[in-house]
């Protein structure tokens, strides 16, 4: 009866059609949450659809009103229960009555069939009945175990988790095969292609190696978040986490224990082992990617403080003293460096010792060094040569041989032919991972991505060395210097790998050219490189693989087919384990076999793009062009390891360091960003300390985003924005397990320098000026602010904010100007009506706040504080000022919000507007600044009064009506003329009904008998239907039924047609007359159905033609308008 608050949760609030996209729900980061979310949403949607269906039915009133269900939730509950019972009953029936008992192979399996499948969902239901499974008609996360479908729309694939709730999405073939095998087969091979088809694609393979590597090793610092990688790998990410967490056997050591170590004076030993920097397992070679996924980086932890340091690690330290980290740093920082706890430089160190980070940031170094290259490519696009004349193109792929090892051991001749691997730690018991191994080591089977302990088991003599980032940098620079010297078209893939387009640049044999380059590289860097030469990038890359180590290979066009024929499909980029398995099932293991399959069937089986890729690659076709580096779309940094905070202060400190890091990266790339996303991994409530030491464990992923109008890369601004976002999380600092900051909507720094920076600086400076003045207020205002607004933010956060964000009410005009220059044009802050602003719901408020770059909240709290102090006078002033200024507010959406509000506010004054509907034409009206006495429209004129007037007077009145003066008078005339006969009709029929012939009197109404007596089949049918319709007595329901019964042949009778039409239309007229005043809806529905019937039958056609003018007249009389009958 009255408004009572719905229990609100974030999941359910945004279900309306109009609702804005909930950024967190679609965010892949949010995988953990989305399962419950998805199913809930799905359910709700269903309920909504149901609502629609019922409400739209023509007989909605009758069916809906009598519904015994209070709401659709209970309706669905009952329906589901009924379906379950039905199913159970049928299952019982089939097992009892069945001639032979079938093995319940699907016991415990409960399927939900989505969309069209072969066999049909009913067949599948039958199978489940027979074989002891369950079948759900409606998706529910709780009941369903498998989703069966043949095809998924793209939107569902993209947002798979919210669709499936994490359940396996399986092809129907699984059920068929299981039945054939008479046992429950694993669903894994039957997983829907679209779903499992997310292994790295070619674009990744050739493009940013490092980026894909980052994505894979997603629990490690992310250097550059690559968009392509993100979308394609997102799905698997979460599972990976879990997998990783599960495989860890290593006992984790508690923090306290760890600190004890330090105090024990075992510093030396401990420090060597405990110094941790995130490492990655292996080179980002696509072939290794899969392996990499399952593995995990873990720095081992000493089990006991007394355990002596292994000799290996001592050796390591002495050997790696060329490294950039001085030993003293190790000692000093290491014990604390494990976590964010107590290490102020955690972020810095974290990234400093990350190889991923090195690769990621190498690119920007490279771009700095060769800033012209992208431009060059654009001007001399190799596109033409690549596609038009393939025989002439010549691509060289050059790759350093085990770069990370080779660079380190070039100064250690003793180790030259010994097995060497690079890793972070050399504890043989540990689970640190090998990131690169040289060829002697590979002979032992040592591979990248392997745990050190496994590698040592394979090869006890293996020497493990640490990274030497400085040397890597140096060699990479030399490497590229040489390449650029020889060739203009260089596409850098990684620090040690590049493509050269030598089509134009060499006149002589590419083989010799390659030899020359290799020789020079060796002489300069003392490291070897391998080269593949072919007509396109794909073949060049494959050639390099053949050439390794320290060789070169040329695959000419003639040889392509030969080479490919026996090449295992696994070697092709873009084919991972899953795709390989699938192909193997089709007995395809080499490219030659793959070539036999027509493109169409490949595309059918594996999807359009994958199919095309397979078809092309198996023929060595690759039309990509050696080009420039893609611009990164977002820049960020993420730390998910070792994050532990004692309190809010810690986390803030950490955040500010992260801001510094990201700001540095932005500046390093010469870009600014407008969109800031803060991701936080929050420990789940019931999660224990993760098995992986200092890992993030089982986490909820939260993310908030803020967009500011002016792009920035300034650390101060960034910091302020991030603090504000962080405040909105309401999170206990102790629960945080990972923090990521990502900046997108990047702009070139030079371009945006002009306006963006100045404004932000202006803000900052004005903030600092005003800071002191309002300092006193801030505490108080904060309080009131929080109380009043239920705005999210923790106290410290807010104080930091209001201190930094403060802006004066009297802003200098230059700022206004700067604002008006931009496309988004919010009115100056000082023009805002604080009262309106404060009353806005938090979402809108934060949106507005974004538009003002965070100033609004401060302003609000400030003004609130002020107004409290100064008193009511001030408020009054402000309000009036606000009100008057609303009229010239800008066109932006956000402003509209308050604009509209303001308008409605202005209109409230009169409380209620009262007008007289049936005003006489001559009656005086209040003037609205004009001098019109007349009602402005004919619709306001009472037609009955008008028609009683003499004709001359009517014309006069019409001409006097302001609207008809302004417009064409002739338009008005037909209106009147058209109405006249109808009105006469009204009176005539009224007379009619006065006569004893009242058809709707009595029970049953008189017309029933009349209709029954009629010879017309249709009338008989209608009478019958009406009598059968029971108590509802609504003609619309009867006509609705007619729709299915009436056919053209029914009005085949020759005589009495006229009579029938007359009877019927008379009946309808009286019905209209009876109902028009009280139930226009019924009349409307009748007219709509009649119209549909009129297509089917001659009688209805004629009745309709008779009725419609009458109907319109009646509506016009009662409602002053025409019924919409389109």
């Amino acid at each position: 009866m009255s408004f009572d608050s719905l229990s609100r949760s974030d999941n359910t609030t945004h279900s309306s059609k109009r609702s804005r996209c909930n950024s967190t729900s679609s965010n892949p980061w949010n995988n953990g949450q989305s399962s419950s979310h998805g199913s809930q949403k799905g359910k709700q949607k269903k309920a909504r659809q149901k609502t629609l269906g019922v409400a739209w039915g023509a007989n909605s009133r009758s069916s809906f009103q009598r519904s015994p269900f209070s709401d659709f939730g209970s309706y669905m509950d009952v329906k589901n229960r009924k379906l379950h019972n039905q199913f159970a009953a049928e299952a019982a029936g089939s097992s009892h009555g069945g001639s032979h008992t079938l093995k319940p192979i699907f016991h415990g399996v409960s399927i939900f069939v989505d969309g069209f499948t072969v066999p049909s969902s009913q067949d599948l239901r039958g199978y489940m009945l027979k074989y002891g499974g369950r079948f759900e008609n409606y998706f529910s996360r709780r009941h369903v175990t498998h989703i069966i479908c043949s095809n998924l729309p793209d939107s569902k694939v993209k947002n798979l988790r919210s669709f499936s709730g994490g359940l396996p999405v399986v092809k129907p073939q699984w059920i068929i095969d299981s039945i054939a095998a008479n046992k429950l087969l694993s669903w894994v091979p039957y997983e829907l292609n679209q779903v499992c088809d997310n292994q790295p694609k070619l674009s990744l393979f050739f493009a940013l190696k490092n980026a894909s590597a980052t994505e894979n090793a997603s629990s490690y610092p992310v250097c550059i978040v690559d968009d392509v990688a993100e979308t394609s790998l997102v799905c698997g990410k979460d599972e990976k986490y879990i997998e990783v967490a599960e495989t860890i056997e290593q006992r984790s050591m508690s923090n306290e224990r760890f600190e004890d170590d330090g105090r024990d004076g075992k510093m030396n030993n401990a420090s060597v082992h405990c110094y941790v920097a995130p490492i990655e397992s292996c080179r980002a070679e696509p072939t290794f990617m899969e392996a990499e996924q399952g593995t995990l980086f873990q720095e081992e932890v000493q089990d006991s403080p007394d355990e002596p340091c292994t000799s290996g690690s001592n050796h390591l330290l002495t050997k790696s003293n060329t490294g950039e980290v001085p030993r003293s740093l190790f000692r000093r920082k290491a014990p604390k460096g494990h976590s964010t706890l107590g290490d102020p430089n955690f972020v810095e160190n974290y990234f400093r010792f990350s190889r991923l980070h090195f690769i990621g940031t190498w690119r920007q170094r490279y771009q700095k060094r060769y800033p012209n290259t992208p431009v060059e490519f654009k001007s001399t696009s190799a596109k033409n040569t690549a596609s038009d004349d393939p025989h002439k193109t010549c691509i060289i792929h050059i790759d350093m041989d085990c770069f990370f090892v080779a660079v380190v051991i070039r100064d250690l001749p003793k180790l030259q032919d010994k097995p060497v691997a690079i890793s972070h730690s050399d504890n043989p018991k540990g689970t640190a991972e090998i990131s690169s191994a040289n060829y002697p080591a590979r002979e032992y089977g040592v591979e990248a991505g392997m745990f050190v302990k496994d590698a040592k088991a394979l090869c006890p003599r293996l020497t493990i060395l640490q990274y030497n980032f400085k040397a890597y940098e140096e060699v990479a620079d030399q490497f590229y210097d040489i390449l650029h010297k020889h060739c203009k078209k260089v596409q850098a893939v990684s620090c040690d790998e590049a493509f050269l387009d030598v089509t134009d640049s060499i006149e002589y044999d590419p083989q010799n050219f390659a030899k020359e380059i290799r020789k020079e590289i060796y002489e300069t860097t003392r490291c070897t490189a391998s080269v593949g030469i072919a007509g396109n990038m794909l073949m060049a890359r494959l050639a390099t693989r053949k050439a390794k180590p320290n060789g070169q290979c040329y695959i000419s066009y003639e040889m392509v087919n030969n080479y490919l024929h026996d090449l295992p499909i696994k070697s092709l980029p873009g084919i991972g384990y899953v795709l390989e398995d699938k192909l193997k099932q089709c007995n395809i293991s080499t490219c030659g076999q793959l070539q036999m399959i027509p493109k169409e069937s490949l595309q059918k089986e594996f999807g359009f793009k994958t199919g095309e890729m397979l078809w092309n690659f198996s023929r060595g076709i690759d039309d990509r062009v050696v080009g420039s580096i893609r611009e990164s779309k977002s820049i960020g940094a993420e730390v998910n390891w070792g994050v532990r905070f004692k309190d809010l202060k810690d986390s803030k400190q950490f955040l500010s360091n992260l801001c510094k890091e990201v700001s540095m990266r932005l500046q390093g790339n010469g870009v600014r960003g407008r969109k800031f996303t803060l991701k936080i991994k929050k420990r789940r409530k019931d999660a224990e300390e993760p098995a992986k030491y200092m890992g993030c464990g089982d986490c909820e992923n939260l993310s908030h985003t803020m967009t500011v109008p002016a792009a920035t890369n300034d650390v101060d601004v960034l910091h302020r924005i991030i603090m504000q976002i962080f405040g909105s999380f309401h999170i206990d600092a102790k629960e945080i397990r990972g923090v990521g900051l990502q900046v997108s909507k990047l702009e070139n720094a030079d371009a945006s320098k002009q306006d963006g920076r100045n404004i932000l600086k202006a803000w900052l400076s004005s903030a600092s000026i005003n800071w002191r003045a309002s300092d006193i207020n801030s505490h108080y205002s904060e309080k009131t602010h929080r109380e009043g607004q239920a705005f999210d933010g923790n106290p410290n956060q807010l104080s930091a904010d209001s201190a930094a964000n403060l802006i004066n009410m009297e802003m200098d005009p230059s700022m206004d100007e700067a604002y008006s220059n931009r496309s988004l044009d919010p009115p100056p802050l000082c023009h805002l009506d604080m009262e309106v602003i404060e009353s806005l719901p938090p979402e809108i408020l934060s949106e507005l706040n974004e538009a003002y770059g965070g100033k609004l909240v401060t302003l609000m709290s400030e003004s609130k504080g002020k107004s409290e102090e100064i008193g009511n006078d001030e408020i009054g002033n402000k309000r009036s000022a606000g009100g008057s200024l609303f009229s010239d507010a800008g066109p932006s959406n956000k402003v509209d919000t308050c604009n509209q509000m303001g308008q409605s506010h202005l209109q409230v004054e009169g409380h209620v507007r009262v007008a007289q509907g049936s005003s006489n034409p001559g009656s005086s009206r209040p003037s609205n600044g004009s001098t019109d006495f007349m009602p402005s429209s004919l619709s306001q004129v009472d037609p009955s009064v008008l028609q009683q007037l003499p004709k001359e007077l009517i014309d006069g009145i019409i001409q006097m009506l302001p609207a008809h003066r302004e417009h064409d008078i002739s338009v008005a005339d037909p209106f009147l003329c058209g109405n006249m006969p109808e009105d006469q009709l009204v009176t005539r029929s009224a007379e009619n009904s006065e006569s004893p012939n009242l058809l709707w009197v009595g029970n049953p109404p008189k017309w029933i008998a009349k209709f029954r007596a009629s010879k017309s089949l249709i009338l008989n049918v209608i009478a019958d239907l009406y009598m059968r319709s029971g108590s509802s007595r609504s003609l619309s329901a009867v006509l609705q039924c007619c729709l299915s019964k009436v056919s053209a042949d029914m009005d085949a009778e020759s005589d009495g047609l006229e009579n029938s039409i007359h009877c019927f239309s008379e009946m309808l007229k009286q019905y209209i007359k009876q109902k028009i005043e009280s139930d226009i809806e019924e009349i409307y529905v009748c007219s709509r159905i009649l119209k549909r019937l009129s297509v089917k039958s001659e009688i209805f056609q004629q009745v309709y033609n008779v009725i419609i003018p009458y109907l319109q007249a009646a509506v016009n009389e009662n409602y002053g308008g025409n019924l919409c009958v389109h």
Partner: protein, 212 residues
């Protein structure tokens, strides 16, 4: 006789109160439906066991509430014929009206259960939520108001209220009788309500879903 009329009055009072409450919800739903304000300006509430939207902004909700509750005495007396929610274009031309046509039978003594009445009114809200396709897209900067049409003028002096204020209705007239699209009707004793849409007649073809 005396007692009976009193009984009638209380009955109508009850019905009128329910009606006013309903109008408040329905008008808010209309405003929400039309999307004049961002969806965030509304919060979900439960009314008559139905999810409805309520304006969050105090002024908006105050406007609606005060407008309809100000009508209560007149509705009780059966003076209010129609309550319209009118959407205006920029030039103050009304583009769409949601009209509630009310009829409160003064001399009725059949007792309708309040729950039944609520149930009937509830269907308005359900139908309303589903009738977005019938409505026209509103232009960007439009405004709206609630207007009540009286059957005849309330006697002067009976109330010094706002009902005495004369206000202009349309500044620009509609050339022809408007097109009416009924949304929902309900007739019962003592109260009957009809909700229909009024559009200016076919200046432009309406893009409505014609189900025939």
């Amino acid at each position: 006789m005396e007692r009976k009329s009193k009984h009638n009055q209380s009955l109508q009072g009850e019905a009128a109160r329910i009606l006013v409450e309903f109008l408040e919800v329905a008008i808010t739903s209309i405003v929400f439906l039309k999307g004049i304000y961002p969806p965030g300006a509304f919060e979900r509430r439960r009314y008559m066991n139905l999810v409805v939207h309520k304006a969050r902004h105090p002024q908006l909700s105050y406007y609606i509430c005060s407008a309809v509750s100000g009508l209560l005495p007149y509705i009780e007396k059966g003076l209010v014929e129609r309550v319209a929610v009118i959407f205006f274009e920029r030039a103050n031309v009304s583009v769409e009206k949601f009209v509630f046509k009310l009829a409160l039978n003064q001399s009725c003594d059949s007792k309708v259960e309040n729950t039944d009445l609520e149930f009937a009114l509830r269907s308005f809200l359900t139908k309303l939520a589903a009738s977005e396709s019938l409505t026209k897209a509103i232009p960007r900067d439009c405004r709206w108001e609630i207007t009540a049409y009286f059957r005849d003028l309330p006697e002067a002096g009976s109330n010094k209220d706002s009902a005495l204020i004369w206000i202009p209705t349309d500044t620009k007239p509609w050339l022809q009788p408007p097109l009416i699209t009924p949304i929902k009707s309900m007739s019962s004793e003592p109260l009957s309500v009809q909700l229909y849409l009024e559009h200016p007649s076919s200046l432009e073809p309406m893009n409505q879903a014609s189900d025939s």
